[in-house]
Symmetry: C2
Subunit: 348 residues, 2 copies
């Protein structure tokens, strides 16, 4: 499914060095801090007086993506974005990435070009340089491992651990859509495999599918917070689901919290689809993951600065540790939040 | 082959967060530049006025290692070392690593502990902090992707591109042994599979097997060069084989070179084993790879400073580009060097 008809270049004709050269040509550095890029044992970065922020993530075929419905270009884009999201979640700005990929010889050069074209687009949109990495063989699936590097002034860095009692818990954008997009894609794949004549019908699901296949990192939220003069007290990106991210912040900060079910932002398309799949939209938001929105806490004094931001929802507040980590349901009952993420989604 | 008898902890009992917590506890940071380690979206590093050097490598089961003869502890050690080697090859000192691993549920917690204990040992010996990474599922084999970060003053960094005509081409240690160690391990594995009663006989091959299973990065060569006041004009580590590394330096520097076959350092154990396998020891040194020695060029004026170093061999000199990249054989004939590495070893 990853290749259209036509003539393709076998990777073994090109060899490792040919492939590296082919990829290098497409990535010129633009950031002043990228002193050297691809082409030596290591790349050289100038922190220019700032602290260096670094994060690394791995995407595995069959675990994190399914190439039968994930176009390679989108996959390359997503692989970069999910790494940048971790840097933004520190209130820092990404400037470089290193990309390691392992791939089997079922991939043609054209397929690799598709993958890298998505990475290139993400680099361009987010202003990031690809400065190195490793390209190697694999006996089976595609594995993408990316390290993102960013910089920030020390006093601007936001950790998970800074939340304090009475802080407001905020979330950007909306939640649960990426998970529901995946449910639609998996359903249509199943129908297609059983009835190859039927074309997948994705109409009416465009938003949630895009949230799954081509998520964005919330750069503009970081910029907005800076512009408004708000430094969050704690922040994390929502990769595993709201519930486990809230627990991360509360544990790291030594606090509890209350969130309100009716304040969790969920897109109408996601709500409709959840109902169709007989899923609770709130559970999708709490445990679905892959939304790559930002979850952060702010001092109550900063509330006025953000109250008119439509893309930021206040969903609850931080309490003392002993009160636990809870959601007040629509019906008014108190539900303990539990960590999900990997455990729930991969072992289901 | 990766587990002894006994009782093992299934990874699914622990879950992702449990596993991360389990690993984090074993890695405390020691370097001043490691401001934060595992436990947030990203780690924070202080470049402390220096340039940051960063490199990333991937090791894939079945391609780069065979767990039937590669003990997990050694593998963890090697995975770290091959990345540090890239940082030393820039004449820089590694200070942090990020480790991404993908593993299937055939690995127990005890197996993962073995892997990380090797990483921990390498971190301790080389003075490096493990500050982050990602742990994820895989449907089949083990994939390890490591990013190494180091620091150096700008004027000390050595690139591949600085070699000049008449510079001397030097190599540390000896070459070809890691490749021959692999040949012995593969032979013994084959015998064992065909005749399970016969115990592998590795005696007399200890050195070459250790070179394959537990290589070292040449930190002390970098320290020696600094101590002697020698800054190489170009440098690279020998991961793919002497031949392709020489070509990398010559191409990046826009030069040619002559090396002398009889100057290539090869250990007697490697020579004996090569003869037994009817392999040419020189070809093993040129194309075997995985020696992780350093190949570097120095100005002729620095020759006296290094002439008594037994662990450094001068194997040739840099010439003008038009003269090509050649080896003068023992018999006195001129042989053009060709790039090998991945192409030769993985597609054979």
């Amino acid at each position: 499914m990853t290749e259209a008809k036509g003539s393709f270049t076998n990777l073994s004709e090109l060899g490792e060095f040919g492939l590296i050269e082919h990829i290098s040509k497409q990535f010129k550095t633009a950031n002043k801090s990228s002193l050297t890029g691809i082409g030596d044992d290591a790349a050289v970065i100038d922190a220019m007086g700032k602290k260096t922020i670094v994060s690394s993530d791995m995407l595995v075929e069959g675990v994190h993506f399914d190439l039968s419905f994930h176009p390679l270009k989108h996959l390359g884009y997503k692989a970069v974005v999910v790494n940048l999201s971790d840097i933004y979640a520190m209130n820092a700005h990404p400037s470089q990435i290193l990309v390691n990929i392992a791939l089997s010889n079922r991939f043609s050069l054209e397929a690799i070009d598709e993958l890298y074209s998505g990475m290139k687009l993400a680099c361009k949109i987010y202003g990031v340089d690809l400065i190195g990495g490793d390209t190697t063989s694999s006996n089976s699936g595609l594995v993408i491992s990316i390290t993102a590097i960013g910089h920030a002034d020390e006093q601007n860095i936001v950790y998970r651990s800074g939340a304090k009692e009475n802080d407001l818990l905020c979330v950007s954008g909306d939640l649960g859509a990426a998970y529901l997009g995946l449910q639609v894609l998996e359903r249509e794949k199943k129908i297609f495999l059983e009835h190859p004549g039927i074309q997948p019908d994705l109409s009416g699901n465009e938003y949630i599918i895009e949230r799954q296949l081509k998520p964005e990192a919330r750069k503009e939220i970081i910029e907005k917070l800076t512009e408004k003069g708000v430094k969050p007290s704690a922040m994390i990106d929502i990769s595993d689901g709201l519930s486990s991210e809230i627990i991360h912040i509360c544990r790291a900060s030594g606090t509890g919290c209350d969130i309100y079910e009716d304040k969790i932002p969920i897109d109408p398309q996601a709500i409709n689809r959840a109902e169709e799949f007989r899923l609770d939209p709130t559970v999708c938001a709490l445990s679905g993951g892959e939304d790559y929105e930002l979850l952060f806490t702010i001092r109550q004094a900063d509330y006025e600065k953000l109250r008119e931001e439509v893309d930021i929802s206040i969903i609850g507040h931080i309490k003392e540790e002993s009160s636990g980590i809870n959601m007040i349901s629509r019906g008014g009952s108190l539900v303990k939040l539990t960590a999900q993420g990997w455990d729930a989604l991969l072992n289901k």
